[in-house]
Symmetry: C2
Subunit: 216 residues, 2 copies
DNA sequence: TAAGTAACGAACTAGCTAGTTAATTGTAGG
DNA sequence: CCTACAATTAACTAGCTAGTTCGTTACTTA
């Protein structure tokens, strides 16, 4: 059952999981870097300790490999998101916490964001085929929904928006900051990811969402 | 001087400007649709009433053609933006007007947004080479800057943000809504561009920016 | 220990793709 | 009219790229 992962030293061991994982890791980088059409299967193979044949052995084709990389990236993010507990916080603080969590995630996972951008260029045609898509909406929205309800019941949040609206608002800010950083910097000569400005934008995001929610 | 644009009917006339413009139009669609690497010079040529050789005749190469399309798209948007006059409005109303203008522009120019996304995937390497880049920051920021100053002087806007911050905030929302529409819809089953929700989001954007600015 | 199977590697191929060559035609100025 | 040049066309090519073929090597199990 258990794969013989432990290596005996210099001798090349066989390890399916390891090979598969390595291909996936390199593929994620390559696709995130060059886009689907720009990525080269040969290049992915070259940056791997294995060969191109293995890519087809484990993933059957470029498109399936791309989808696997995309799904894997979503799985990683989702894994992080599911470890949230904001029930102890009062609504406003909970919202700020959730926003900052998104802020941090996006900043520390640029490859994920790049893959999402790329997938949007393709009008989500691959993601739509994914089998893990249904579970993707995930906890983020449910948690947010609970907090919003509490806030509304306490008479502190406006009534005319739902969890998806707020999620969209938070994502917008975080996604733009990292995904559109390059053209923004080229045009306005400001690096949105400059560490010196990080706290400024993090607070700005929270203020923005709460300023909006507590209106009316 | 004047090109013989008027056509005599069925006979094929020569017209450099027209040919160039047609290539650029089709190229913009193709690049926006498939990305830089995914776009095919042969395909662009095929969808034109001219031939591939003409693409090289007028644009010298795929990369220069892409840059021309990108620059042209920016020029169009900038042309629209420069026709703004919000000096007559009070600060809050002016901000809302500017936000709605961006909202409308982005919604009605999806190709532009797609090109921007694509250019960000490429880390703005082409845009950086562009000669019209310096003039691109343009009026949008200056106008915004004036409004913010007026608002601050009237004691109605917070002091700790500048025009670029607010511009970023507005762009975030508008860009996300159109550029990330596909993955958002795939995951959450909500079409951010559904006409039924248009007014909701348009008002939401204004409320968000003003709610933020009038805090503190 | 023999046989079967999973994991691996190198070389190959058919089709595509950006870019080119070279010849042709319309048009303006003399 | 006719000459020079701008605009246009069709066919070609060198190099690339996803996907394959076929054979080899380690590991498992009966």
């Amino acid at each position: 059952m258990a794969a013989p992962t432990s290596d005996t030293g210099a001798i090349k061991q066989r390890d399916a999981d390891r090979t598969r994982a390595e291909i996936l890791r390199v593929a994620t980088e390559e696709f995130a870097d060059k886009g689907y059409a720009g990525a080269r299967v040969d290049e992915i193979a070259a940056r791997t300790s294995t060969t191109k044949r293995m890519i087809y052995y484990y993933f059957t084709g470029k498109e399936q490999l791309y989808l696997a990389a995309l799904e894997n990236a979503y799985a990683v993010i989702r894994g992080l998101e599911s470890q949230v507990d904001v029930d102890a916080l009062e609504p406003a603080e909970a919202i700020r916490r959730l926003a900052e969590l998104t802020f941090d995630h996006h900043e520390s996972h640029p490859d994920f964001l790049r893959l999402v951008s790329i997938e949007n260029i393709h009008r989500a045609e691959h993601l739509t085929k994914s089998e893990l898509l249904p579970g993707l909406a995930g906890p983020a929205v449910e948690v947010l929904d609970g907090v919003l309800r509490r806030g509304r019941e306490a008479g502190r949040f406006r009534e005319d928006v739902d969890a998806l609206d707020v999620h969209m608002m938070i994502s917008s800010f975080c996604v733009f900051r990292t995904a559109n950083r390059y053209t923004f910097q080229a045009i306005f000569e400001r690096d949105l990811l400059d560490p010196k400005r990080r706290e400024h934008y993090r607070r700005m995001l929270g203020d923005m969402v709460l300023g909006f929610l507590s209106q009316d």
